[in-house]
């Protein structure tokens, strides 16, 4: 069953379109990846979906209804977002940050209840951070901050997550950990992913953006062929199914496309 349907979404920051006629869909329970080079419009697509930006043209349907006709609060009850900004210049405790995920459930005069506290506690427990509830968010490492934000989106209790490069700038152990956590939630996910190997490991389907347009889509095996990768990213690589994971792995082959240049450089030194 299709949960999210994006139809010919177009947006421009100024004169040139940052994304043009992007069409994609996400089915229930799928982990869909959005890949593409830097500046290809991955974030812009997601920002239009979580309404930080307003599209110039195109439509988005979520669970059969028009996304843009929902109030911010209503869409926050359906879509959870982990964006790229994660610095908070003020002093909050970890549990306070996670509790903010409960906000869309709150009306004007509602206070935090014992039930909210329990949800916050469970969310932190799920990420193995129950012991850090009273720590100051300011003093956490990048990986810990990202885990707190995942806990916040869990506390938000939505079953559809939009992730904007959730593992950017993180150590490899944290990258795996964060994506494992997300995968374990068994929710529907649309995520921008930078690392192609990560995309192959975790995604059920991929959409490839190049210069603001969707150029390819399909399963990782269909999309991540050496020819496609060369045409989108301009690098040579070799792919194989890894015997242990059963997933596609990509090995980049540096300098193969211009071997002579390398050798002559070497000689002159």
């Amino acid at each position: 069953m299709i949960r999210l349907n994006v139809d010919k979404l177009t947006f421009s920051y100024g004169d040139a379109d940052a994304i043009s006629e992007v069409t994609l869909d996400v089915e229930r329970g799928e982990f869909v990846g959005l890949i593409g080079p830097n500046g290809s419009g991955k974030s812009t697509v997601l920002k239009n979906l979580y309404r930080a930006l307003t599209p110039d043209a195109g439509g988005v349907t979520l669970d059969g209804g028009d996304l843009f006709r929902l109030s911010h609060k209503q869409s926050a009850l359906k879509l959870g977002v982990v964006g790229q900004e994660n610095d908070v210049p003020f002093d909050f405790l970890v549990e306070e940050i996670v509790a903010m995920g409960r906000s869309p459930h709150k009306k004007l005069f509602d206070m935090d209840t014992a039930w909210d506290k329990q949800i916050v506690h469970h969310a932190l427990e799920h990420l193995g951070m129950a012991g850090m509830a009273k720590r100051s968010y300011l003093n956490l490492s990048g990986g810990e901050k990202q885990r707190v934000l995942i806990a916040r989106v869990i506390a938000q209790e939505t079953d559809f997550l939009l992730l904007d490069e959730p593992t950017n700038h993180l150590d490899i152990s944290y990258q795996l950990q964060i994506l494992d956590f997300v995968k374990r939630l068994r929710v529907t996910v649309l995520s921008a992913i930078h690392d192609l190997n990560m995309a192959a490991l975790y995604c059920d389907r991929l959409f490839v953006l190049k210069a603001g347009k969707i150029v390819l889509s399909g399963t990782p095996e269909e999309v991540l062929t050496p020819e496609n990768i060369h045409s989108v990213y301009g690098v040579q690589c070799d792919t194989m199914l890894h015997p242990k994971t059963g997933k596609l792995t990509i090995t980049y082959l540096p300098g193969i496309n211009e071997p002579e240049a390398l050798i002559t450089d070497f000689k002159y030194q």
């Binding site: 930080a52 209503q74 009850l77 908070v88 405790l93 903010m100 009273k134």
Partner: protein, 359 residues
């Protein structure tokens, strides 16, 4: 030891006991007010102050014997009490204005004085005072003219420092400086071309911030505005918290950021304008009070708003005591003193901030 443990348990950053902290601070505020009423070029003993005040409470008047001089009563009721009450209200308003502006620009260095809002309000207020512009608004003309100046400045500074949807701190502080210089220049021109010398003297004194002219009539509007704005902010405390996460995150968590930001601009300029109209530009209170509050209870606005209001009030009441005692019988403008105390704290925060950035 026991007291210390009790203190630790209640004044604990990780789990502050709000009821106790608010109770203690309210007591502090009351004690400060009674002490401050007695202190001045002519001092009145605190017990006399308490008795004079109690004798005014309906029903108690006959019970308390008059053991004080009539002069003391005149000083307490006619001069000091309205002045101290005004100090409390002005301090609380400035602190809450600071908190509001900090949420708006997502930066704890924001303060109505630093960002030029006080100067903007002063410029339009001077215009109103010396030339009777805005006279159509009757007795609220001064407050409304200051409000207009404050609102225009906030919108200007906010628009200038917003780069690609984010507030740039350098642009923010520099545009604050530039705007306050422009506004001060305008104020200077207005005062120099003032039709009367008396108005000129008042205007200069009032520009550097003072509570000396406090009258009972000054209290109503600022108090009403403070209570109303406080209520609005407290109802939106979740939105304020979320705004600190950044606009995009706040939007993704269900906040209509555009609407909330407009409301904050309105609330901040209302409070700044009304306060500045009665007390002039008293700087750095909106920086200091929220800063100490956050050290005490953290960043949650449900806690920050009431506590910084109390701390701001207490702070201004005491600085005003120093202002009238230091060079007695000469009065120091209270704004000069808050600048001398607050300036170094601002520099300290700025320094610490750049150090954090480098790490």
């Amino acid at each position: 030891m026991k007291i210390r443990r009790l203190f630790r348990r209640n004044f604990n950053r990780a789990d502050p006991n709000m009821a106790v902290i608010i109770l203690v601070l309210t007591m502090c505020a009351l004690v400060s007010m009674i002490a401050a009423i007695g202190l001045g070029p002519v001092s009145v003993a605190p017990d006399s102050v308490a008795k004079i005040l109690l004798s005014r409470i309906p029903g108690l008047g006959g019970v308390i014997q008059q053991t004080w001089a009539q002069l003391d009563q005149n000083i307490v009721l006619g001069l000091r009490l309205p002045r101290v009450c005004l100090g409390m209200i002005v301090g609380a308003s400035l602190a809450v204005t600071g908190v509001t502006m900090q949420a708006l620009v997502r930066n704890n260095l924001a303060d109505p004085f630093i960002l030029g809002v006080s100067s903007g309000a002063s410029a339009t207020a001077t215009l109103g005072m010396l030339f009777g512009a805005f006279a159509v608004f009757g007795k609220y003309s001064l407050s409304i003219s200051a409000f207009i100046g404050a609102a225009v400045t906030i919108i200007f500074v906010y628009a200038i420092s917003r780069v690609r949807g984010r507030i740039n701190i350098t642009q923010l502080l520099l545009s604050g400086v530039a705007i306050s210089m422009i506004a001060d220049g305008i104020t200077r021109i207005i005062t120099l071309s003032a039709p009367n010398a008396l108005g000129l003297h008042n205007a200069t004194f009032w520009m550097s911030g003072s509570l000396a002219g406090a009258k009972w009539g000054y209290l109503t509007l600022p108090l009403v505005v403070l209570l109303a704005c406080m209520a609005v902010l407290m109802l939106n405390y979740r939105g304020l918290n979320l705004l600190l996460l950044g606009e995009e995150s706040a939007g993704a968590l269900g906040v209509h950021t555009g609407r909330l930001q407009k409301m904050l601009v309105l609330v901040a300029s209302l409070m700044a304008g009304v306060t500045i109209a009665v007390s002039g530009a008293i700087g750095f209170v909106g920086l200091m009070a929220p800063h100490f509050t956050r050290l005490l209870v953290g960043g949650d606005h449900r806690k920050v708003l009431p506590i910084s209001a109390l701390l701001g009030g207490i702070l201004v009441v005491w600085v005003d005591v120093v202002a009238r005692m230091a060079l007695a019988p000469e009065e120091l403008p209270v704004g000069i003193l808050t600048a001398i105390i607050g300036g170094p704290i601002f520099i300290f925060l700025l320094k610490r901030r750049t150090k954090e950035k480098k790490q």
